[in-house]
């Protein structure tokens, strides 16, 4: 099976190469039969990659530890669920997984578009085949998942057990986090291929951009899901009490998400007003390049140190491909810029187009700021030498991101409510007086209640503003529909959303984002933290909670040995819960893992991490704990659900000849 997988990979590479050639000549000679054969070879590559991934999965399930990758990422004592999913637990398997997702997406998009946009198919297929060619050669030469484990003398080793997967990664959140991220990263390759096809052929009509919008929404959605799963995992599993640390790996998935968000907005301006065409092309290209970069960053270890980059041969290869791709695609964009001229000009400063323009500007600068912060430590290491490291930490990101996101949120309230082209003072008054009033009241109320952090006060006020604007949109729409059809509130509301899925789905996504921001401001601006060593029966108070240490308990659990510390929790004097935090000791791992206890309410999260324990301390058992009170965190997760719901609603929208704004 291992040999089959390896040869499957080589064959897939050959097929992809043939696909590139066939597509090239199909375009050149305008030949339908060659285009057909390029498409067939694309499907063929997909099938071969599927065979490969099945082979690797087979090796995992049968515990074939002769395979280096299987040996390095699984062990026989792991639950089968984690063995199966260990496939994407490392670089080599992830690359294969990437390629496999790409096969599925390209097959689906091929069947979607080959009838509708046949003239773009050769270039589209060709671009995808280039991507396949890159990933297959990458795997064959530098990151081969089918490589045998060899002893020093070159014979194949066959150990009894594998090294196991890092227990930190043995968590459902971490199992679905990488695939969701990859669905996002890989999903952007379809808009990219469509865009390249349009650029290469010079046929920059409307069809391709509409197709790209759908795929971008799809990828954007999974990226958001992946990012949230990662945040959730970090919160429950890492035990430091937060969910977002501006870690380079987090940043590299956040950056394409920002640019994709920008695209999803500016594409509306192109559809409605035929403006910003080259800007949209730029956004698609940037998003895909950032996705490739994200894949590379998350898997190569380059971000921890430039040193690890030069150790593996895949690093330079990956980076040269990204560089070549960017150079080629952007030169092409410049070459075609004549055909991408706007057909309209901006009519006024206060209209939806300009709000979207500024929103794009802000999102892109946010992306740029994150990029600089992520890449700068690396650059300084390259330029100034190994030991002259610089770190750019949370303070930088928070300081830059807070004002930028305030700006974005203001626009989020203003933009969708404004009419296209031009807004009259009367319209402005009608739309914004009430929300502005609510925002001012919110701010003064918070100040009166004793809140003294200007950024937080401003943030909450802006969120209130956005929220009221959106609610008013719903109210106005429902009222109009009630008047028109004479139906009751509920039916009117439902038909309103049903008739304008894209617009109102979008508003629901906005509400989700507002909820997320609400939680983020609360938990970033007002966390409480305390640490202590408690004897049995000793109390620790944090906010309205009082924590009492009850007892320790030690027993085996799953594939680990767990020491649990139990605590009773009192809320304003009343007992509300008994919680436990654990230290887990894994036989395959040197250091124990912490399982935190979290008690979530809409108001705040009580977060308890057992840091150390002593069963035979003076005066009985002791437990050393880190306790945090994180306000409003639950709103982040609730917001993600709302965002998911909103995206579904807006994805249900079908493009008919004309599009509802």
């Amino acid at each position: 099976m291992v040999t089959l997988g390896y040869y499957g990979l080589i064959l897939a590479g050959v097929c992809a190469a043939f696909g590139v050639l066939a597509a090239f000549f199909a375009q050149r000679k305008n030949s339908a039969s060659l285009s057909e054969s390029a498409q067939r070879s694309l499907l063929c590559v997909g099938m071969l990659i599927t065979v490969c991934i099945a082979c690797l999965e087979y090796a995992f399930i049968t515990h074939d530890y002769r395979v280096s990758f299987v040996y390095g990422h699984s062990s026989s004592d792991m639950p089968m669920f984690y063995v199966v999913t260990a496939l994407w637990g490392g670089m080599d398997g992830s690359m294969l997984f990437w390629a496999w997702l790409l096969s599925i997406f390209s097959a689906v998009s091929l069947f979607q578009y080959r009838k509708n946009i046949p003239h773009l198919m050769p270039a589209f297929v060709g671009t995808l085949c280039v991507l396949f060619l890159f990933f297959t050669t990458l795997m064959i030469f530098t990151a081969n998942p089918f490589q045998y484990l060899r002893m020093e003398d070159g014979t194949i080793a066959s150990p009894d057990n594998g090294r196991g997967l890092n227990p930190l990664l043995q968590n459902p959140g971490m199992v679905f986090h990488p695939p969701a991220l990859y669905m996002g990263f890989v999903g952007f390759s379809i808009p990219f291929a469509l865009c390249m096809a349009a650029l290469l052929t010079g046929r920059l009509g409307d069809l391709w951009i509409r197709a790209s919008r759908r795929w971008t929404l799809f990828a954007w959605f999974f990226l958001a899901l992946g990012i949230s799963l990662g945040a959730g995992w970090s919160y429950v599993e890492l035990g430091w009490g937060g969910y977002w640390a501006w870690d380079p790996v987090e940043n590299s998935s956040f950056m394409p998400w920002l640019t994709a968000t920008a695209f999803l907005h500016s594409v509306m301006v192109q559809e409605k007003r035929r403006m910003l065409k080259s800007w949209n092309v730029t956004l698609i290209l940037i998003t895909f390049i950032l996705s490739l970069l994200g894949t590379f960053f998350t898997r190569s270890g380059v971000l921890s140190s430039i040193h690890s980059f030069t150790q593996s041969p895949s690093g330079p290869y990956f980076l040269s491909f990204i560089a070549a791709l960017s150079l080629f695609s952007f030169s092409l964009l410049i070459l075609r810029s004549e055909k991408l001229k706007s057909e309209n000009e901006l009519d006024s400063m206060v209209c939806r187009e300009s709000a979207f323009l500024f929103n794009n500007l802000a999102l892109l600068s946010a992306c740029f700021a994150v990029f600089i912060g992520t890449i700068f430590p690396l650059l300084s290491e390259v330029i100034m030498g190994q030991d002259k490291k610089v770190s750019v930490g949370m303070p930088y990101f928070n300081a830059v991101f807070a004002p930028l996101s305030l700006f974005v949120f203001v626009l989020m309230g203003v933009g969708p409510a404004l009419p296209w082209r031009r807004a009259t003072p009367d319209q402005l008054k009608r739309i914004f007086v009430l929300p502005l009033g609510v925002a001012v009241i919110t701010a003064s109320l918070l100040f009166a209640l004793g809140m003294r952090k200007p950024v937080a006060i401003l943030g909450f006020a802006v969120l209130a503003f956005v929220f009221v604007v959106i609610v008013l949109e719903f109210v106005r729409g429902t009222r109009a529909r009630m008047k028109m059809s004479g139906s009751d509130v509920v039916t009117a509301f439902l038909t309103l959303v049903k008739k304008n899925k894209r617009r109102y789905g979008g508003f629901i996504v906005h509400i989700g984002v507002v909820m997320i921001a609400f939680g983020v401001i609360g938990s970033f601006a007002f966390p409480k933290k305390t640490e202590a060593t408690l004897k049995q029966g000793e109390k620790l108070s944090i906010g309205r909670y009082v924590l009492t240490f009850a007892e320790l308990e030690a027993k085996p659990e799953m594939n680990a040995f767990a020491v649990s510390a139990f605590f009773t929790v009192h809320n304003s004097g009343k007992p509300v819960a008994k919680i436990r935090s654990q230290k887990r000791f894994y036989p395959t791992q040197e250091d124990p893992m912490t399982e935190v206890a979290i008690r979530s309410t809409l108001r705040d999260d009580l977060y308890v991490a057992l840091s150390a324990f002593d069963p035979h301390g003076k005066g009985g058992q002791t437990a050393t704990v880190r306790v945090l009170l994180n306000p409003l965190v639950m709103w982040v997760w609730l917001g993600v659900f709302v965002l998911v719901a909103g995206t579904f609603i807006s994805a249900l929208h079908k493009d008919r000849g004309e599009v509802n704004g």
Binding site: L149, D387, S391
Partner: protein
């Protein structure tokens, strides 16, 4: 038609300017330099009371903690030079003598580095207990 265009250009350049200022200004304020214990000794006066990071190994048998484990002192070493570190708060779980650690804080006049943050170097790649069984592969077989 000309007028709004100029306004937009002005607005765009104002925003871009503000953002560049924001990024640049915060870079200056929040960038933290990384030093080795040797450099701390060489630059001693010039970097005192400045926010910085020191990385190295936690010297074996240098860790002293009070009973509640909330106050610790230890020594970070690069083999040749030592830096004495004081830290208030719980040390991270993976903190161990003989292992790598990075501390962030300020060097005070008494030659003690007062850390506000202690980080343990831990890589994404997971390093388990080496196999000791006979017939097992050598540790770096790949």
């Amino acid at each position: 038609m000309k007028k709004p265009k100029i306004k937009v250009y002005v607005a765009v350049s104002l925003i871009v300017g503000a953002i560049v200022y924001l990024v640049y200004g915060n870079f200056q304020d929040t960038m933290v330099y990384f030093y080795t214990p040797q450099e701390i000794h060489e630059k001693n006066d010039s970097i005192r009371h400045q926010s910085l990071r020191v990385g190295g190994l936690v010297k074996v048998q240098s860790l002293r903690q009070d009973k509640g484990k909330l106050n610790s002192t230890f020594v970070i070493t690069d083999g040749g030079y030592d830096v004495r570190v004081a830290y208030k708060g719980l040390l991270p779980d993976l903190f161990k003598e003989g292992k790598g650690a990075i501390v962030e804080g300020k060097l005070a006049g008494d030659q003690t580095f007062y850390a506000t943050n202690v980080m343990v170097k831990h890589s994404e790649e997971y390093k388990p207990v080496p196999l000791k069984k006979k017939g097992g592969p050598p540790e770096h077989a790949q």
